[in-house]
Amino acid sequence: MRILIQNGHIIDPSQGMSGTGDILIEDGKIKDIKTKSREQRQKTRDDDHTERIIDAKGLIVLPGLIDMHVHLREPGFEYKETISSGTLAAVKGGFTTVCCMPNTFPVNDNASVTEFIKRKASQEGHCTVLPIGAITKGQKGEELAEIGTMKKEGCIAFSDDGHPVMNSLIMRRALEYSKAFGVPIISHCEDLTLSEDGVMNEGLLSVTLGLKGIPAEAEQIMIFRDILLAELTGGRLHIAHVSTEGSVNLIRNAKKRGVQVTAETCPHYFSITEEAVSGYNTNAKVNPPLRTKRDIEAIKEGLRDGTLDVIATDHAPHHRDEKMREFDMAPFGISGLENAVSLSLRLVREGILTMDQLVEKMTINPAEILQINKGNLKVGSDADLVIIDTDKEFAVRSDQFVSKGKNTPFEGWMTEGTPVLTVCKGKIYE
């Protein structure tokens, strides 16, 4: 099968490429890619063997995006999401590679669960699924899981996401031991003794709503601890879903000192504040919690100056019935795959990031952290790409999500820019 994508504005930071051009795909791989000036443009590769020609004039063509932080819920919570529905949401959102967190049932803390996820993904998945293994058995924070064996089976990183490793010695061991396999440790930074049973950001709003607050310090204390441990051990640390100004400052300083630390944030942390919780909106209940305007500004600055390397979604689908209940009893999480691109494009329109920088944070930066050959349009690479119409206006409507999780705080938002076609290993989704 040959596919020719013509006249799109191609941006591929891995090759320093930005310009109008064509991409030829053959047998699921990038066969040829050329950008050229207007004068040079000619129809050379459009021959009889091409089965599909896509005109991408006026659209941008990017390497398939990588989301290094999603929850696919399978095995165990198929009523929330499955590998099939979650990866379909991914390709609809422009992602061709997703990394799924291990908090399934059973937990992905051993190679047989990893094998199950990989097999399911190859049978029913719509994009590449790279599992993240648990750091500790059962995500209990007590004993290291078989990191080496899981790596061999296909895990690309390790995290006890949502159940932070509270024991500093175990975290130290994880950062040390993982060095043997060259895998990063992804840390959900939260001091559980300080956040206790908090459900939203701590501040005046949590007082007036009568909801228990989670102070920014619960995140920052853990980030600081993990940075110090990374410094001590020389292990590779990746900080998940950064939400506060103080966190950005801690990471910025650590990077200046040369600590091997990278970090991600999510679209909701640079798009909306804790105000979204007003009226007890459980769809805005997420962990870490939505913070303040000041934090948003700091996160944008962190993205701009490179302190924050990656934009990930922390896609956390939940069933409607679980969210339609008492605020403090509803689960944390936002279904994020299907609006990440439009929310992130706002950063470009606001002048925070150039388009190239934004693409880096969703392609080569996560690829480098995870050491995977994804997120580029180099000849010979998997034909993973996304075509985006940056001007297309649309209203966010959760009933049009293909994810089973309709839990979004962006319901009804008018946004601009959306993927119109995704190619994953040569297969077209439109």
Partner: protein, 306 residues
């Protein structure tokens, strides 16, 4: 007229609406002081008490208020209901509505539950206390009692003393008294007064003696025993030594200061018996006024245009 079909909190009420409730309650107080304590105002209507948290005085007060208005009252006993079988909150509320409830009076340990239900049912939701959010009828009866005793609220110096952080009563009182023009201060240990609460326009005192000086009204809060051992204060004994309202401390307030408490009291911990049972205490009058105020709330909500 009240604007909304529900009473979710004082936050949502205007000063005019609060005064309307207090004025209306004055009339009902006359009614319940009579020999025949009942009026036919809401005959044929049904009120359901949906209490997910234990309560005696508030539930009884609402029940009596509804009966004094000639309503039929159902007490939905939660431990015996399907809730223990895992029925969702919304299903329970819809079921109660389907049974014909005009008023659903709800108490729940989770903040925001009345707000959630108000969007799901047509009946009037009355918040009888949700988590650490609000307890609006308590604030209204407190305001009614203060107005009755002091003749006004505007300009009064009022202290709220104790566990502010976990108190829905304190929150509703703050909103209510501020809207009516009082100066409000909070007194208690720093662990029980959130720093940010000062942004509501109240002053904070950690020293009881300083805080009580020249107050017109002292509103004591119940210290919840389950807080002990959670690090908020080392012991009830130490709490009492610093923040219990004693006769000596009371003398620091104005000579005609009144003492209030929403009940139930921990005698000897937040208030000594000499004061609770003494001439400055209006604690039992608060209980009586509670019925009149709740009658006023239901009467006025019944008149809200849908």
């Amino acid at each position: 007229m009240l604007k909304n079909k529900d009473l979710l909190g004082i936050k949502e009420l205007s000063a005019e609406e609060i005064n309307l409730v207090l004025d209306t309650a004055g009339g009902f107080k006359d009614v319940i002081g009579r020999d025949i304590k009942k009026v036919p105002a809401l005959r044929g209507k049904t009120a359901v008490n949906l209490f997910f948290e234990p309560s005696t005085r508030t539930r009884t007060s609402f029940e009596l208020a509804a009966k004094r208005l000639s309503m039929d009252v159902i007490n939905f006993a939660i431990p015996m209901s399907s809730v223990v079988k895992g029925e969702s909150l919304i299903d329970t509320a819809l079921t109660v509505q389907a049974l014909g409830a005009d008023f659903i009076i709800i108490r729940h340990s989770s903040s925001g539950v009345p707000h959630l239900l108000s969007t799901k049912v047509k009946a009037s939701i009355i918040n009888a206390g949700d988590g650490t959010d609000e307890h609006p009828t308590q604030a209204l009866l407190d305001a009614f009692t203060i107005r009755e005793k002091k003749g006004k609220i505007d300009g009064l110096e009022i202290a709220i003393i104790g566990d502010i952080a976990h108190s829905r009563v304190a929150k509703s009182d703050i909103y209510c008294l501020k809207k009516l023009g009082a100066k409000v201060r909070l007194i208690g240990p720093p662990t029980l007064i959130p720093e940010k609460i000062q942004e509501l326009g109240v002053t904070v005192f950690h020293n009881m003696e300083e805080g009580l000086k020249d107050m017109d009204v002292l509103m004591m809060l119940r210290i919840q025993m389950e807080r002990q051992g959670k690090g908020f204060f080392p012991s009830t004994d130490e709490y009492a030594k610093n923040w219990c309202l004693t006769t000596g401390r009371l003398s620091l307030a104005k000579d005609d200061a009144i003492v209030m408490h929403p009940g139930p009291m921990n005698r000897g911990i937040e208030i000594v018996s000499e004061i609770a049972d003494g001439p400055r205490s209006v604690i039992l009058e608060q209980v009586t006024n509670g019925i009149a105020v709740r009658m006023a709330v239901m009467y006025l909500l019944a008149g809200v245009k849908r």
